[in-house]
Structure formats: C-alpha cells, structure tokens
C-alpha cells in the first residue's frame, strides 16, 4: 500500500515537473529576502516599520519525493534573529488523489509555530478541488497554533474511521467526542492538507530550530523575549535569566506577575520569589497584585506570608473577600501563630465576620470565637 502511494507520488512529481518546469517556485512571499510586513497569518506581534532580512541556515526540511527545502532565518537590522521560515512544496494525497501543497511556514525562535503565508498562485484546495476560502485559511491557522492537537497522536487512518474501543488509546479514552474534536479542528474537506501541514510545523524541525537559537543565545535575546508578549518567550526567558538578570529586569517581571497568564505568574512566584521576598519593597508589587491574580497563584503567593510586612498582613485582612475558603484558613492560621494581632486587623476581621454577604464569614466567626 505504502509502495503504491510512493509510486503515485513519484509519478505525480514527475508530472508536476512536466507541468511547471523543474524549479517549483513561489511567486510571491516565498522568494522574499526581506520581510517588511507581517506574514498574513501570524501569532507574534509585528511592530510597524520592522524590516527583516533573510539569511540561510544549515537546516532543511526533507519532504518525501520533493526533496530538501531550506529553512531560513530572518534578522532585524541589528542582526538579531527574529523568525525562521521555509517555503514548502509537499504532496498531499487522499484516496490515491495527490496534489501539491504550497505554503510558506514561519517558526518562532523557540521552534513554535509562528504563522504562514499562502501562495496567491497556488492556493490550497479541498477534496473536491475547491479553493480554500479565507475562513479556511483562518481555521488552518487556528489548527497550527494548537501544538497539542489531536492530529499529533493519531495516524491519519485513525482519523477518518471511528476506531473500535478496545484497540485504541485515548485521553482517559477516545470517544465519539474525540471524533467530533477532529472535525471541529480541521478544515472541512481538507483533512489531509491539515494533517500534513500540522506535522510539518510540529515535526522534528521544531527541536532543530530551538537548538539553533539556543546556540546563539545572548542576554539581549533573553531580555527581548522577556519583554515580548509571546508566552513561550516569557517562560523561556524566566527559566534562563540569571539571578542578577532578574534584578535588572525586576520591573518587567513584576508587571508580568500581574498581567501574565497563570502559568507564567505561578512560575514567577514559585521560582523567583525567594530572591525578592527578603526585600519587602521588592515583594510589594507582588502583594499589590493579590486581588488581580488567579486563585492558584494567589495560594502560592500566600505561602510567603511569613516574610510579609505587618502592613501587608493588615492589608490582606481587609481583602478577605477575594480569598477562597482554604486561603482564608491559611491566613487565619498565620494570624494564630502571631504573638499579637493588631487592633486594625481585628477590626477588619470583625467586619468580615459580621457581613451576611460573605459565604466564608463563618470561618472568621469561629476564629474570633476561639481566639478572643
């Protein structure tokens, strides 16, 4: 079966050559050596006026029967690497029907999907040879953004027919709902193109790109990543900055603590707080963020309550409504271990205990009963 497919492919490539001439070329963006505007479908932010220049890298993507396709790097005017890209031509075959797919793919410095440009002359097509609509490209973009897509863990033939329960493996289980998940995530009528594109983007090249970046990593690069909106850049920077560099970049880090996604916030508080918690003024921005951050991060932050200043503890005693039941419990047990509770804290506790709007007020009532 495989053989047959390969045979068809080779034949097809041959035919293609006959049709297009041997150098299959991209008419528009593909040949670009300079990027002066963002790729059409793009996940990173693009500052107006940015101009990126292309250089070659030793990396390439080998596509069955078409051969090696170069992976290039785009750098800004100070030669800092920004983006990787490759013009891909690859056969897409379904039920013995093979076509060539043209697409320019982009990766971030860490090898994650960054976006794509379509080819205006060779648009992507669906099963019945209809051209992709804009909404189809958009859906493909959404699919490629999902590095954890169901396409990753299934062979193509598992996606088209419903597998039998005993022989498949699933998330707790594969089920009817999972088939629905496939349908929802791919462009209707273009499962194979989606599948091929997803595996190109998230294939081996990912690790190679990252390794290539890591080999050229500089402090400047890390700082740019920290300041970027891309979450993987933020995480990578946080993981790789040295302790001194944390201090220099403190203001950005404390801002990220308030505005970042929960995963980034919790990383900051779990891994970096140690170096800040000894200096109350450094910890202050973290405590100030208490009402704005997600519950998990708040729990992690409260683990540092023992190093918090009296003013912070007092301030938290006035914000009990934002805490969950178990967070209030933890806070109260911190108070219980103190030799003395200030009158201001007591006043705040009494206010909270007396409120009939607070579902957790009973905890403070009990606390006051036990500790008065």
């Amino acid at each position: 079966m495989r053989r047959l497919a390969l045979g068809i492919l080779l034949l097809l490539t041959h035919l293609c050559e006959a049709q297009f001439g041997s150098a299959v070329s991209f008419p528009n963006s593909s040949e670009k050596t300079v990027l002066d505007k963002s790729p059409e479908f793009f996940v990173l932010s693009w500052k107006q006026g940015t101009i990126l220049n292309r250089s070659e890298t030793p990396m390439e993507i080998v596509v069955d029967s078409v051969g090696a396709q170069k992976v290039n790097i785009f750098q800004d005017n100070s030669d800092a690497p920004v983006l990787y890209s490759s013009n891909i031509i690859t056969p897409v075959c379904a039920d013995g029907d093979c076509r060539l797919m043209h697409i320019t793919l982009y990766w971030t410095l860490l090898g994650d999907y960054a976006g794509f440009d379509r080819s205006s002359e060779e648009p992507l097509t669906k099963h019945d040879h209809d051209e992709f609509l804009f909404s189809d490209y958009w859906k493909l973009h959404e699919l490629l953004k999902d590095h954890n897509s169901i396409l990753k863990r299934r062979a193509i033939d598992e996606l088209v027919t419903k597998p039998k329960p005993s022989t498949i493996e699933g998330v707790d289980a594969l089920s009817g709902a999972t088939i629905k998940e496939v349908k929802e995530s791919v462009v209707s009528g273009a499962l194979y193109s989606c599948y091929v594109a997803w595996h190109l983007v998230h294939g081996d090249i990912k690790d190679q790109i990252k390794a290539f970046t890591v080999a050229q990593q500089t402090e400047g690069m890390l700082v740019r990543m920290l300041n970027n909106e891309n979450i993987n850049y933020q995480m990578y920077a946080l993981e790789n900055l040295t302790k001194n560099q944390y201090d220099t970049n403190f203001s950005r880090i404390s801002k990220l603590f308030k505005s970042g996604i929960p995963l980034v916030r919790s990383f900051i508080i779990k891994n970096l707080a140690e170096s800040f918690s000894k200096e109350p003024n450094k910890m202050q921005p973290f405590w100030d963020a208490l009402p704005y951050i997600d519950i998990n991060t708040r729990s992690l932050l409260l683990q540092h309550i023992d190093t918090a200043s009296e003013a912070t503890v007092t301030s938290i005693s006035g914000q009990l409504s934002v805490l969950t039941k178990n967070q209030i419990r933890d806070f109260l047990s911190h108070l219980e271990n103190k030799s003395q509770i200030s009158s201001e804290i007591l006043k705040n506790l009494r206010n909270f205990a007396g409120s009939n709007k607070e579902k957790n007020s009973y905890l403070v009532v009990q606390f006051l009963e036990d500790n008065s």
Binding site: S175, M235, P262, D294, N296, S299, Y362
Partner: protein
C-alpha cells in the same frame, strides 16, 4: 433492629432533668423517596446524608416514622447547608413535614454544614411521629440529620464537637461490637478491589470486600460510567469478568457491564461482599494494620474486620492514611525524579513542587425528545458556567485547583461541577435547537483521578514508563500512551475553569513492579488502584482501570502466597519471587478455578 439504630433516644440527665432528645439520621429514613444517600464526604462533614438530586425537578418526599418516649413540645434543628450561598435563592431548598404539618421554615439556606433551626412542634408519644422531607427545587438540597429536643439548645457545629456529641447521643462504644475475621480484607470495590478479591478468592483465601456503594466498579460502575481502558496484561481471564464494553464515557449501556461484574464477584463463595459499607478507620500496631472498622451507610451499623493482610483500593488511600502509611500528594519538582519533558515544560512537570493534581469529574448527558422540555433558571450556576453552553459532558469536564484537596474538598469540587453542568445546560437550552432536549443523567458521584499516593518500595515514575523499564518483578504491563491533564484556564483565563486538556506521551510498553504495590512502612498493607506507589507524572499512564485492575489481581495472588508462607508482602519479592511469577503465569490458563467453591 433497624428502628433502634435509626432513632437514638436519650435522657440527658446531666444537662436537664427532663430534657428529651431524639436524633434522626436522614440516611436511615425508612423510605428515602427520591432522595439519594450520599456517603462520599463522611470524613469531612461527619456522616452520610440525603441529597435531593432531581436535576432540576423536585424529588419525591423522603419519609420515616419515629417513636418518642415523652410527649411535649419539641424544638427541631436540621443539619443542612446551602451549597451555593450568594445573591440568589439557595438552590437546595426544602421543608420539613412533621405529621400533617409542613413547617414554615425553608431549610438548606445556611452556609457551611451546620444546624438550622426549623421550628417547634407538639409530639404525642402515643402515636408514631411521621417525618417527611419536602424538596422544593430538585437541585441538591441536603439533609444530614434532624434533631428534636425539648430544650432550645443548638447542637454543636464544629466537626470535632459534633462527632463527640453524636457519639454521646448514640452511646456508641469506641470499638464496633462485631468482629469479622478473614484472610484478606479488601477495601474499595473499583476494578482494582474487585480483581484483588477475585484473585485472592481463587487461591483459596477467605476475602472480605468492603465497598461503600450498592454496586461494584468504582468509576467503571453504572453510577459513574467511565469505560475501562488499558490492556489486560497477565490477567485477562479475571479482568474480563469485571471490565466494560460500553462506550463512550457516560453510556447508559454501562448497566449491562454492571450486572456482569456484580454477578461474577458474587459467584465466589469465599468472597464476603459488604456493599454499602464504608470503612472509617484502620488501626495499626507496630506498623501493621490490625483492624479496619466500617459502617453501613444507611443504618449506621458497625463492624470490625481483622486479617493478616489488607488491600487499600479506595483510590484515596484511606486505609494507608489511617494506618500511618507514608504517602504523597501533588506534583513533585521536575528534579525529584527527572521527569522533564521539554515540549510541555511546567505544564508537565514543574521546576518547583506544588499541590496540583489531575482533577475530578462528574459525567452527565442529555437527550433529544419529541416535545419541548423546560429547564429552570439557575442564576447560582452562572458564576461558574458563565456563557459556556453544552448538552453533554465528557472526560474534559474536570476540576482541580491547587487550594482544593481532591479529598478534603471533594464536596466543593463536586458542587462546582454541578454548577458547571446545570449552568452550561441552561445556556444550551436558550438555543432554539435544544428546545426538546432533556437533561437525562447527571452523576452525583465525583469520579476521581488523583489524590493520595501511598509510598511503596519502588516509586513508579514517568521515566519507568517512558523507557519501558523492565523489572524482575514487573507484574503489570501496559501499552496505552501516558497522559497527564491540566486545567486549560492555566493557559488562558478566559477558558472555563472546569475544562481540562491532556498531554500525551506515546512510549513503549511499560511495566509496573510488584514493589510499587505494597506499603513501604506498613508491613501487611497492599495497595492497588490510583493510590499505588507512583509520582504524579508516573500516574499518567497506569491510572486507567484495566491497569489498576491488573494491580488488583497481582496483589490478590501475592496475598495468597503471603498466607501460604506466613510472610509479609515484601518477602514475596525478596524470597518467593519466582513462585509468585509462576503462579501468575499459571493462572492465565486456569479454566475453572478449583477454589471457586
């Protein structure tokens, strides 16, 4: 006899010479009507309770009769809670009917479990007093107990004081009166517990299987409806007696598998099945479990179980916990066992340890009918469901949060899921296409994936799975990919907090050693199921139910050898490994078990 247990009458001479008190436990009502006995959270709130799980339609009254010793005027308190306090009508409202009169007070409106005053009534001791619970909403009103007293003193609310008060009222001695003796006591009748009981029984052990539900199977049961995944390994013959065919999760066909499972387990004469019995304590001496104490979930009757060997297959590692076994909870730091997986970084294994675990689920489903179906407004559910709309729930409906323990806060977790479900269904109903849709089934049992993990001689990790590491005592075999879940809200706060995502690792076939199936420090304790000895990421593969079933069967056979040589579980590894492996091999082909007598 039952009556005696239902109603406890006591004269508190020390408090007041003439005070008369009667405590009626709701779970012991003669006729629960449409209310369900909910014993899931006994350790936290003190008792099984009645739950009006009507999915939005008020359930039939629960009723019982009580005999009083003394006529007079009685004050009445009901132990209850408002499970969603807030700026709306409490979802679980109900009233109390005493004889012909419905008391005015609307119950289920106080926040946190405790006593709500219901009013006063006249009782005539000559007539049986008839009590009913009148559900007003069908949205999980809860009643734990009803207390009648001629004195107006509110009973204690704090869990510790309440337990002592209850015990005093019931005048229960510390130890249960009845002692049962077995070769092997298995607690928890999920797939693991069932397989352990069968394997032990086939080898001639006299086995007690203590399980807190009316049906066997745990998450695989018709009550929770998860279907069994994984491979049979060495234990196909046994596991086929208890596995499921139904598919997908939530399928009503789980009923057929239920019948098969229950009948097969019951067919063993040397398994004594204690259904609706919940273990509440394990007593150990010199690092060895001596007894497990259990209570009937309806009547409150108690028994003590003794045996040379015990299996903890409760999922939550309760027996180990009570007996003082080492355990872990949450995620280890990535360096603890080197479980790094670059692709998913922190989501897979964190740089610093934390309390995160895979969450618990409540499965549910609806069906289309030929006529319009109404569904009530549920304002109290909206803060959780927001604008999420759905008509069925699958495995992704899962909730965990680092400040919530999957054990201690299980009721809050279950309730959060109920809000997510009712709110999402209510949102879906607003769409014209769902006009005829009816909420058909919502489990009230919380299906868990991860909580306490007891520590054994070997801690099974992701690396053991990833490398397909072979062990001399690798008795469990699995091929299914490893997957670990996380809450999607961690990546995007706009996501609902009750939806999870799975990260998959496709590795080779892997093995779990026998040394992960007995406690490191409690010498006669086996564990099988998700509470076996593993790391957080290590649980990612083996938590599925055929794998846990394999663990159960493996410990059942080990227990039989323990008995034969009068040794402890560890010694099977150090001294009798070959015989153990041979026994496992041999049993595969046993067509009619000789010991099935």
């Amino acid at each position: 006899m039952k009556k005696l247990l239902i109603v406890t009458l006591l004269l508190f001479s020390s408090i007041s010479l003439f005070a008369q008190d009667v405590l009626v436990e709701a779970e012991s009502f003669d006729n629960p009507g449409g209310w369900l006995v909910d014993p899931q959270f006994v350790e936290q709130m003190g008792s099984p309770y009645l739950n009006a799980h009507g999915m939005g339609k008020p359930v039939k009254n629960a009723s019982t009769k009580v005999n009083f010793n003394k006529s007079g005027s009685y004050h009445i308190w009901v132990r209850t809670m408002n499970w969603v306090p807030g700026e709306w009508e409490a979802p679980g409202k109900f009233q109390l009917k005493v004889n012909e009169a419905v008391l005015d007070t609307v119950l289920g409106t106080r926040s946190g479990w405790g006593w709500q005053y219901a009013g006063e009534t006249k009782i005539n001791k000559k007539n049986e007093t008839h009590i009913e619970l009148v559900d007003l909403t069908g949205f999980n009103g809860r009643c734990d107990a009803i207390y009648f007293s001629t004195k107006k003193t509110t009973p204690p609310s704090s869990p510790k004081k309440l337990a002592a008060w209850r015990q005093e009222l019931a005048a229960e001695p510390n130890a249960p009166e009845e002692l049962k003796t077995y070769d092997l006591v298995v607690v928890g009748g999920g797939l693991a517990g069932c397989a352990a009981a069968i394997a032990g029984a086939e080898q001639g052990l006299k086995v007690a299987l203590i399980h807190d539900r009316p049906v066997l199977g745990g998450n695989a049961s018709e009550e929770i409806r998860v279907h069994t995944e994984g491979i049979y390994g060495n234990f196909e013959r046994i596991l086929k007696k208890i596995d499921t065919k139904h598919y997908p999760n939530g399928s009503a066909e789980s009923k057929l598998d239920q019948q098969k499972r229950d009948e097969n387990v019951k067919s063993y004469d040397n398994i004594d099945l204690f259904l609706n019995w919940r273990a509440y304590d394990a007593i150990s001496e010199e690092n060895s479990v001596k007894y497990v104490d259990a209570r009937q979930t309806f009547t409150g009757e108690r028994k003590r179980f003794t045996a040379p060997y015990f299996v903890d297959s409760t999922g939550d590692g309760w027996i180990g916990f009570w007996a003082g076994a080492e355990f872990s909870y949450g995620r280890e730091s990535v360096d603890t066992y080197g479980e790094y997986w670059e692709e998913h970084g922190e989501l897979w294994s964190p740089k610093e340890a934390d309390n995160a675990v895979m969450g618990s689920s409540v499965l549910w489903g609806s069906k289309d009918t030929d006529s319009p179906q109404s569904f009530p407004e549920v304002p109290w559910a909206m803060p959780v469901s927001k604008d999420y709309a759905e008509v069925n729930g699958e495995w992704q409906w899962e909730f965990s949060r680092n400040d919530l323990s999957q054990i201690d806060d299980a009721e809050e977790i279950r309730d959060h899921m109920l809000r997510a479900i009712y709110g999402s269904f209510s949102n879906a109903k607003k769409d014209e296409v769902n006009k005829n849709r009816k909420l058909e089934w919502v489990s009230y049992l919380v299906g868990k994936r991860e909580s306490r993990r007891l520590v054994g001689d070997h801690i099974f990790t992701f690396n053991d799975a990833k490398e397909g590491r072979e062990f001399p005592d690798g008795v469990v075999i699995e091929k299914r990919a490893v997957d670990v879940h996380y809450q999607t809200v961690l990546e995007d706060e706009k996501n609902p907090d009750f939806i999870s995502e799975a990260l998959f690792y496709r590795g080779p076939q892997y093995y779990i050693p026998y040394r992960s199936l007995y406690s490191k420090n409690i010498s006669n304790l086996f564990m099988a199921g998700r509470n076996f000895s593993c790391s957080h990421a290590g649980l990612g593969g083996p938590r599925v139910m055929l794998t846990t079933g394999q663990m159960g069967a493996a410990v059942g056979y080990a227990a039989s050898l323990c008995k034969k040589y009068e040794v402890m579980p560890r010694e099977i590894y150090t001294g009798y490994l070959q015989e153990y492996l041979d026994l496992i091999e041999e049993q595969k082909y046993e067509k009619i078990p000789t010991s099935k007598k």
